[in-house]
């Protein structure tokens, strides 16, 4: 076994192999079917819960393991399922929607949402983006009006991963008319009267249910306020770091899978009397890919280490996200090229990987937003 790169230990590397085996045996065989169905069954969550995979980073008192690094392993290895949408559907629940409940929630909220979430019995989604507010989070319009015992919510959210199936929607709302970031709050909205979800058709991520959600006079009890009123911006800020790290880890995994697959193909496929990989142009393409994967991995693991050390990791995470999302799309496109006509065919699954990777430079903050954050971090 190669020397594990910190923060991973030998135990984590063993865990990595067992996660990979599980993903290859139990998820990968169904990926095509689920892609076609535009849906993966909820049993996936139940099975993951059974294996303890949904609670890896959460504290034992809520049913978790308290090992953030193991969670990073899981996220990277999920790439072997061959479906970005499936990996995203799982990641959205455990990596994006549950963490703010864990970090900012009251004890009672954790018992109601985190515990069943870790058991795979209650699925959560995080809803920030709106039809008219993407990168510019401050322009959110979904509104929560104070009412007797709680709030009444009106508005709509879009591009919400897991948003069709989610039982609980952690939703960013305006609770004050004050401009900018200051009037934002988060509410945990249970599925119920006035909450409507519809599925969106997309370029890739077909196995994931990506929703447009409307809230029509939805009553939300006061105890479902997550964190402090009007302090929602900090929740977003805190959450983004982990979300972007997950995306970076996922991209590293996806690049690795595509590389290994393409390497194998290029040693088997012959042209002009030898394996195509033995032609220098292809050899160099694969060498470029391998270098890009290594670069993405080294940068991502660094960001992960800074994050785990409890230091501010904004700059490192932002760099890792920017680098890996762009790299993954480029790398997988080159893998598609090396596959030639076969690469264009659905059967080889590389076109799916390319479509899936295209989301990376948009989701979780666009490349342009990443550059904006980094530029500002330099005082520009």
């Amino acid at each position: 076994m190669p020397r594990p790169i910190p923060p991973f230990t030998e135990e984590h590397e063993e865990f990595r192999l067992s996660v990979r085996r599980f993903v290859q045996r139990e998820l990968y065989p169904h990926a095509s079917e689920w892609e076609e169905a535009r849906w993966f069954p909820n049993e996936v969550f139940e099975r993951l819960a059974e294996l303890g995979y949904l609670g890896l980073k959460f504290p034992p008192e809520y049913g978790g393991d308290g090992d953030v690094v193991a969670d990073a392993v899981l996220i990277e290895e999920l790439a072997w399922c061959g479906s970005g949408g499936l990996a995203a559907g799982i990641g959205a629940h455990i990596g994006i929607a549950l963490p703010p409940i864990w970090r900012f929630g009251t004890e009672e909220q954790k018992l109601r949402y985190l515990v069943p979430g870790i058991k795979g019995e209650k699925i959560a989604a995080l809803a920030i983006t709106e039809p008219d507010a993407g990168s510019d989070v401050a322009s959110i319009r979904t509104h929560a009006e104070g009412a007797e015992g709680g709030y009444v919510v009106n508005g709509s959210k879009t591009f919400i991963t897991g948003g069709v199936r989610a039982d609980a929607i952690v939703t960013a709302v305006k609770t004050s008319d004050e401009g900018g970031h200051h009037g934002l709050s988060f509410l945990i909205i249970d599925r119920g009267p006035g909450v409507e979800s519809s599925s969106l058709e997309k370029l890739g991520w077909h196995a994931s249910d990506t929703a447009h959600i409307t809230f029509d006079d939805v009553f939300v009890p006061a105890e479902n306020l997550l964190g402090q009123e009007n302090q929602g911006f900090y929740l977003i800020m805190a959450n983004f770091q982990w979300e972007r790290l997950l995306m970076a880890l996922g991209a590293v995994g996806a690049m690795k899978v595509a590389f290994e697959k393409t390497l194998k193909y290029s040693l088997e496929r012959e042209a002009f009397g030898r394996p195509i990989g033995k032609h220098q142009a292809i050899r160099h393409k694969l060498a470029e890919i391998a270098t890009t994967v290594e670069a993405g991995r080294d940068m991502t693991y660094h960001a992960l280490r800074v994050y785990l050390a409890g230091q501010d990791a904004v700059r490192d995470v932002t760099m890792a996200k920017l680098l890996t999302q762009r790299s993954a799309f480029e790398v997988i496109d080159t893998c598609l090229q090396i596959h030639g006509g076969n690469g264009y065919m659905t059967a080889y699954e590389i076109e799916r990987a390319a479509r899936d990777a295209r989301l990376g430079p948009i989701g979780g903050g666009t490349n342009e937003i990443m550059s904006e954050i980094l530029g500002r971090s330099l005082g520009l």
């Binding site: 020397r3 790169i5 910190p6 970090r103 900012f104 929630g105 009251t106 004890e107 964190g227 402090q228 302090q231 911006f233 900090y234 929740l235 805190a238 390497l263 290029s266 040693l267 990989g277 033995k278 220098q280 292809i282 050899r283 160099h284 694969l286 060498a287 470029e288 391998a290 270098t291 290594e294 670069a295 993405g296 080294d298 940068m299 693991y301 660094h302 280490r305 800074v306 409890g310 230091q311 501010d312 990791a313 904004v314 700059r315 490192d316 760099m319 920017l322 680098l323 342009e368 990443m370 550059s371 904006e372 954050i373 980094l374 530029g375 500002r376 971090s377 330099l378 005082g379 520009l380």
Partner: protein, 396 residues
């Protein structure tokens, strides 16, 4: 425990992030090297660009113990780990003199390691001990006028004659070639033995028949002296053989790993240095009513550059960590070298662009960085050779 807004980690872009390979001692070393470089070397950089840097730099750095940071104490070194050598290569950029950095690296990280690794005790006493003191200067001879990337194609011959070898041939692009006291020379001793027909020699540069033919004019790295050398019937005793007869090719392939590693580290440092200077410029220079760095297009250029530099740095550190732990990570070294060399050139070019017309002028020193950095995609193995090494490591 519930987190509140007040507990959320706030951005701290000035915060110091210590990489796991470094200790506080490395940090102290870093500071002391930097102080020395800024105080004693940097003031001369313009002059040295014109005339190449003087030999007293070696003596002074030897005196301070900077030439043997990671070398064994028994030969006068500091006995530090590999990371301390990395620190030197990162801090020497503050001299703002690429040729100087290269001349030193050839001495400490290219010519010296094979003597330590393969040399006899006598050879180490004769060359390494004074080299660490800065009293003797080393160089390394691999490339020839007709053999660059294709190392196996070299023609310099060493023919056994009794207890001696007679060497004939020529070497080119030899850094320190004019000032060096000794050269680690790659020769062919058996032209029928393929890769097993090469032998290294330690050839004193004052022997009869060693001819320093000319100083080569270059695009950049002006502070370094680069030589074309000729060897005409140079006689050396067989005690001049470095390592095993017939194993020279493998010895030099080993040497190249350290050369590429330190080269990659130098690229990251060079890129960071020109980035920092350009960032300062972008904050001061105004256009259309504000500092140019506050235009989104320029801001994003910096974001892109910072990401590239940090990525290259992480590749170098992770690979250095493998290196220090006794691995022989040829693949990862090749990747780090390829990536770092490319981004250093890209960053330097982008920094010229941000400087506009000033960037094209010598005065601002940015065009020099590009000229210096441009070598890295060629020296120590071209980009194309790196790709070939990486590709072949996967069985391609």
């Amino acid at each position: 425990m519930t987190t509140t807004a007040a507990d959320v980690t706030k951005p701290d872009f000035q915060g110091h992030r210590k990489h796991f390979i470094f200790t506080d001692e490395h940090q102290q070393l870093r500071e002391s090297i930097r102080r020395f470089v800024i105080k004693e070397l940097q003031p001369h950089s313009e002059e040295w660009e014109q005339q190449t840097f003087p030999n007293w730099v070696f003596q002074r750095m030897g005196e301070l113990g900077f030439l043997g940071l990671d070398k064994p104490e028994e030969y006068g070194g500091q006995g530090g780990d590999y990371y301390s050598s990395l620190v030197l290569s990162e801090e020497i950029v503050h001299a703002h003199c690429g040729g100087l950095a290269m001349g030193l690296a050839v001495h400490t990280d290219m010519a010296m390691p094979p003597i330590l690794a393969f040399g006899t005790e006598d050879q180490k006493q004769e060359w390494v001990v004074p080299a660490i003191k800065g009293e003797k200067i080393l160089c390394l001879g691999i490339t020839e006028p007709d053999a660059g990337s294709d190392v196996a194609g070299i023609k310099t011959r060493a023919v056994k004659d009794g207890n001696e070898y007679v060497i004939n041939g020529s070497k080119t692009f030899i850094t320190n070639g004019h000032r060096a006291d000794v050269i680690v020379l790659v020769t062919k001793t058996d032209s029928d033995a393929g890769y097993d027909g090469f032998t290294l020699f330690l050839v004193p540069m004052d022997l009869p028949g060693v001819i320093r033919e000319k100083k080569l004019e270059k695009l950049g790295m002006h502070a370094s002296d680069t030589a074309l050398l000729a060897f005409q019937d140079v006689r050396v005793p067989d005690t001049a053989v470095l390592g095993q007869v017939g194993k020279g090719f493998y010895h030099i392939m080993w040497e190249l790993q350290g050369e590429r590693m330190i080269g990659a580290a130098g690229c990251v440092a060079g890129a960071q240095h020109v980035f920092d200077r350009t960032l300062e410029y972008a904050k001061e220079r105004t256009a259309f009513g504000r500092s140019i760095g506050h235009f989104q297009v320029i801001r994003h250029k910096f974001a892109e550059m910072a990401t590239k530099i940090e990525t290259a740095r992480q590749m170098v550190y992770t690979t250095a960590w493998r290196f220090q732990n006794g691995e022989y990570p040829v693949r990862e070294i090749s990747m780090a070298k390829l990536y770092a060399a490319r981004i250093a050139v890209e960053v330097a070019d982008e920094c010229i662009q941000i400087h506009g017309g000033n960037g094209y002028m010598k005065e601002y020193g940015v065009e020099r960085v590009w000229r210096d950095m441009r070598l890295n995609r060629i020296g120590a193995g071209t980009d194309e050779i790196m790709l070939d090494v990486i590709g072949r490591s996967y069985g391609l």
